[in-house]
Amino acid sequence: MSDYQLLIIGGGPAGLTAGIYATRARLNTLLLEKIVPGGQIASSEWVENYPGFPDGISGFDLGELMKDQAIKHGLEIKMAEAVGIELVNGAKVVKTAEGSYTADAVIIAGGSEHARLGVPGEEELLGRGLSFCATCDGPFFRDREVAVIGGGNIAITDALFLTRFASKVYVIHRRDQLRADRIMQERAFKNNKTEFIWDTVLDAIEGPDSVNSLHLHNVKTGKKSILKISGVFMAVGTRPNTEYLSGIIKLGQGGTVPVNSQMETEIPGIFAAGDIREGSIRQVVAAAGDGAIAAMAAEKYIG
């Protein structure tokens, strides 16, 4: 007999929503979280597109509320990082550094982390002018010039947040238009502290002790340039936390987990939800929706 009927890997919006549905379905459920529950959204200063909050809500508060709601319904949460899954006579064995747990079904909802470009200086200057968290580090750059790399919602939200502190915010994007929501684009174009550098990619970040300049090149003209700045904020997308699954599930595009409309993977009883699954639009509301679907499908599977 398994330790749990359902095991959820990951405590972001997908995993916590799955937890709410599973506990309400009276499934004996354990959620494993490798750091602390809440998910990536915790670093978002303000979430304006999650329904039910007409004035928006801080990402931190939204994550905390989801966690509180799951715990209120009886979800058990353990801090442990899943490092592997094995199948033993139909049961799923999820391995962590602190031991293994068996379950009848598993929902993989481990989300994603910041993608890195792999350019020179990126590792060395992390925490020394290079940041992945504008809401954490923006105030360090009061009255200084900074750059944001990227053109999606996170990049533009970060750029707008940084205009409160920095004297100038360059947005460096590899294309000639942004991917961010139109409303965010309008705000960014209207702001007089932002300057857009289009069709341009980052080749290197120069120190030596802290970020001093960016080496750039224009992808259309091939022209190289150097931009002097004090801080650089990376918002170049995410990569799914699926390395440990490569031996058990065939991964899809960009290392995501392929699923059908019921969030079922190719292995019966293993589901995936949220940013980690192939085709995700990587929005909180979609992750929550995935979590609900996966939990209901898991309930049906467990029977």
């Binding site: 490798k34 750091i35 670093s43 990082e81 925490g127 940041s131 809401t135 750059f141 002790d209």
Partner: protein
């Protein structure tokens, strides 16, 4: 009761740099969501390593000199001091296990 001490620009040298024991310094600020999440993890470590290492917190908003002295421009940052010198640095929210490995290495 808290096992971590709040340290500032003026007593940092006495409590951290002059300490005979290893010290984990948690640089944080109230506006930083991941910092708020690091807090309880550091608190747990302080209990587990009680008597073997000291655990202090520096609010970079109130005490900016510590951060600038050690070139810290991202929070949360954890600095592991031994013999008055920072021996390792961890930037960002990390799992407790990873922090324990760093501490164990430091105590060797």
């Amino acid at each position: 009761m808290s096992n971590t001490i709040e340290v500032n620009d003026s007593n940092f040298k006495r409590i951290v740099e002059d300490s005979p024991r290893p010290v984990l310094v948690d640089l944080w600020a109230p506006w930083c969501a991941p910092c708020i999440k690091v807090g309880p993890i550091v608190e747990e470590l302080a209990r587990e390593y009680d008597g073997r290492a000291d655990f202090v917190k520096v609010n970079v908003d109130e005490s900016p000199r510590v951060a600038s002295a050690y070139g810290v421009q991202s929070i949360p940052t954890l600095l592991f001091f031994k013999g008055g010198k920072p021996m390792s640095q961890i930037v960002g929210l990390r799992a407790k296990e990873e922090l324990k490995k760093n501490l164990d290495n430091l105590m060797g």
